[in-house]
Symmetry: C2
C-alpha cells in the first residue's frame, strides 16, 4: 500500500495551540494528552504512520504539560497545551472547530480551555463591528448600553412592534427579538421584521434616537441568508442568531458578509450542555473566545445569580476573553442577561466595567407599572457614564 | 401597552412532549420543572402574561413528574414530562431544537432525556433511506455491514483513492472519509472526491461489488450544498457530515433533499461535550432519537470500551432509539466505532444484533500485515449472517 511510503508535505512550520484541562492522575493525564495529539489530527495508530511529515508535523505536539496548582490532591488535574500545524485546518473555520474539539469532546475528563492562533488563522475571522463599531451605531462613546427583548411568544407582529416603539422611545439602545421568535404564525418572520424595523425607525426619526432592532434570524439552514437579507432590507440594524442551533460557521458567514454589513448578537441557546466540568468546554472558551472568533459583535450569556448557573468567575472570564488583545481582532461586547433586574445594575457595572450591554427582559416588566418610565430611568442612570 | 389585552390564538390543542431528568430534591425539582415550562416558551414573568392562549396554551405544561426509582436518597432525581403546543415550533426544525433544549441547556442538573412527537411534527423529518434503504444500496439483506475510514490526514488524494480501491475490492460496504478530511491542500475536496469515487466505481464494475464511498462534506455553511452536489455528481454513494460542526438543520436539509438523494452518515464530532450527567443530554437522545429525526441514515458513535467513555447501557440505548417504532419514520443504523478491533466483532453483534454497521478504522491496520486480507476475513465472517 502506497501509504507506507514516506510523505513530504512542505509544511510551513506555523502552528496554533489549544489548551485542555485533563482531570486524571499524572501518568494517565499525560497519556491522554498524547492521545489527543493523534485523535485530533490523523486518528490513526501512530506507530503505523508513514515516515515523514505526517508523523512529524501533522500529528499534534504536546508543548506544555503542567499541574493545576489549585487542584486538590484527591482530584488531580493537568493543563496540556498542544500545537497543531495550520495546514490541518485548510483555511476553514469548520475544520478549525473540528481540530480544536471534534473527537476530544467525547473524551471523559477533558475540557477545552482555550486556544492561541497566529495571525494567518485570524484573517477574516472575528467581529466586523466590535465594541467601537456597535458604539458608533447607537451613538454612545463610553456608557454601558441598554438592551431588551421583544416577547412573549404568542403576541402578534403588531403588538411586538408596539413594544419595540415603546422601548425605542424610552431610550433602549438594542431591541432584539426573543430568541424563540422564529416563523410561527403568531408573528411570521417577514411581517414581524417589517413592522418592528419600521416602528423603531419611525421613533428614531421623531426623537433623533439611534435605537437598533435586531430580529432573530435563527432558522432553517437553506433560509438563513435570505432571512438576514430580508432583515437588512426591512431596516433592521443588527441580527440575533443562536449558533448552538444553526452552527458557528453559519454565524461567521453572516457576520463576515460585507454585502450584509450588520452587527451580530449571539445567543447561547443549546450551548449550555457543553459547559461542564470536568469534561466539556470552558465558559471563557465557548461564550468568549470562540463566539468572538466566530464573528459575534455581542455575546449574550447568563449573568451569575440569575436563573442559570454561571459563577461570578466564569462570567468575568467570558468578558475578559471577549475583550482581551488578540492580534488585530476587534473586541466584542459582553451582554450579561438571564433574570437580570433593575436593582442589580450597579453590581453588573462593577463586574464588567462600562463596555457592557445590560440585557434586561422580563425584569423590566416586573420593575414597575410604567414600562417606558422604567426604561427611561435605567437609560438615564447609564447616561451618567457617557 | 396592548400586550396586556387578552390574546386568542386558535391553538389546535395538538402538543408534543419532552422529558427532562432533574437532579434536585423534590420541591426544588418541581420548581425547576415549572420554570422549564416558561423558559422554553414565553421566557416572561408568568404572572404578567396576557390572559388567554399564551398563558393557557403557549406556555409548556407539566404533564408528569415522577421520582427516579434508581436514584440514591443522597442524590435525588425526578423525571419531568412537559408538553408544548405544536404551534410554538412553527414547522421549523431549528425552532423544535430550541423549544426542546434552547435555554434549559443552561440550567444546572437538568438533562434532556427524549421527546415524543405527533405525526404532524414528524412529517418531512427522519432518514430518507433508513435501514432498508442502506441495505438495498449495498446489497445486503440481513448481515451486519462493514465500514471503514480513509486516513490518515496528510495522504494525497491519489493515496487515499488507492486505499479506497483496496477496501472496495476486499468487500468493505461503506468507505467513508475520515471526518477530519476537509479541504486541506494535502488532498483537496474536489480532487479527493473525484478520485475516490472513481476508484470505488471501477472496482465495483470489475468485481460486481456494491461498495459505497461517503466523502466528508463538513465544511463552510455557504458551501455545504455545493459540496454535496459535487460529491453526488462525482459518483459518491453517501455523505459523511458532522452536525455538531455544521448544525443539525444543515444535515436535515441535505438528508431530505430529493435532488441529492444520498444516504447520510452522521459523525458525532464536537457533540461529546453535552453528553454529561447530571446536566446535558442523554446519549440516547442526542445520538439516537435526535440524529434519526435530523435525517441520519447512519449514526456513528463510540462503542463502549474503545478510546471513549460510553457505557454499554448508553450504547444499547442509542441503538434502541435509532431503531424503535416512531410513527412512519424509518429506522436508522447504528455504527459503533472508536478504537474497534477485529477481536471485538462477536461482542458487537451481541450488543447490537445484525442491523448494525461495524466501523473499524485504525484497528484494521493493526490486525495484521495484509490489510486486504484482514478486510476479506471480516467480511466473510459477517457474510454468514446473510
Amino acid at each position: 500500500v502506497s501509504r507506507l511510503e514516506p510523505v513530504s508535505l512542505a509544511l510551513s512550520g506555523e502552528r496554533f495551540t489549544a489548551t485542555y484541562a485533563i482531570a486524571h492522575e499524572h501518568d494517565v493525564a499525560r497519556q491522554v494528552a498524547q492521545a489527543i495529539c493523534v485523535e485530533q489530527t490523523v486518528e490513526f495508530p501512530y506507530e503505523l504512520l508513514p515516515a515523514g511529515d505526517i508523523a512529524d508535523g501533522v500529528v499534534g505536539c504536546l508543548e506544555a504539560f503542567v499541574a493545576d496548582a489549585g487542584a486538590a490532591a484527591s482530584q488531580p488535574c493537568f493543563h496540556a497545551t498542544i500545537s497543531y500545524a495550520v495546514e490541518t485546518v485548510g483555511e476553514e473555520f469548520t475544520q478549525l472547530q473540528n481540530v480544536l474539539f471534534g473527537n476530544v469532546s467525547l473524551f471523559p475528563n477533558v475540557r477545552l480551555e482555550g486556544f492561541d492562533l497566529p495571525a494567518s488563522l485570524l484573517a477574516n475571522l472575528g467581529p466586523r463591528f466590535g465594541v467601537a463599531g456597535v458604539r458608533a451605531i447607537v451613538g454612545a462613546q463610553r456608557r454601558p448600553l441598554l438592551a431588551t427583548a421583544l416577547k412573549p411568544l404568542g403576541l402578534s407582529a403588531r403588538s411586538l412592534s408596539e413594544l419595540a416603539a415603546l422601548f425605542a422611545g424610552a431610550g433602549v439602545d438594542l431591541i432584539k427579538d426573543d430568541h424563540g421568535l422564529a416563523n410561527q404564525r403568531f408573528a411570521p418572520f417577514a411581517e414581524r421584521v417589517a413592522r418592528c424595523a419600521a416602528a423603531v425607525q419611525e421613533v428614531n426619526a421623531r426623537t433623533g434616537g439611534r435605537a437598533v432592532y435586531a430580529p432573530c434570524v435563527t432558522g432553517p439552514a437553506p433560509e438563513l441568508a435570505a432571512r438576514a437579507q430580508l432583515a437588512r432590507d426591512a431596516g433592521a440594524g443588527a441580527l440575533l442568531i443562536a449558533p448552538g442551533v444553526v452552527g458557528f460557521d453559519a454565524m461567521r458567514a453572516l457576520a463576515r458578509d460585507p454585502a450584509l454589513g450588520l452587527p451580530v448578537l449571539a445567543h447561547p441557546a443549546c450551548l449550555g450542555g457543553a459547559l461542564q466540568r470536568p469534561g466539556g468546554m470552558a465558559h471563557a472558551f465557548l461564550l468568549g473566545q470562540w463566539m468572538r472568533l466566530a464573528g459575534a459583535d455581542v455575546s449574550i450569556f447568563p449573568h451569575h445569580g440569575g436563573r442559570f448557573s454561571f459563577s461570578q468567575e466564569d462570567c468575568a472570564a467570558i468578558a475578559r476573553a471577549l475583550g482581551e488583545h488578540s492580534g488585530d481582532m476587534r473586541p466584542s461586547l459582553p451582554a450579561p442577561a438571564g433574570g437580570m433586574t433593575v436593582e442589580r445594575v450597579p453590581e453588573l457595572l462593577e463586574t464588567y466595567g462600562s463596555d457592557v450591554i445590560l440585557l434586561i427582559g422580563g425584569g423590566l416588566f416586573r420593575a414597575g407599572p410604567d414600562l417606558a418610565e422604567t426604561c427611561r430611568r435605567l437609560r438615564d442612570a447609564l447616561g451618567r457614564y457617557e
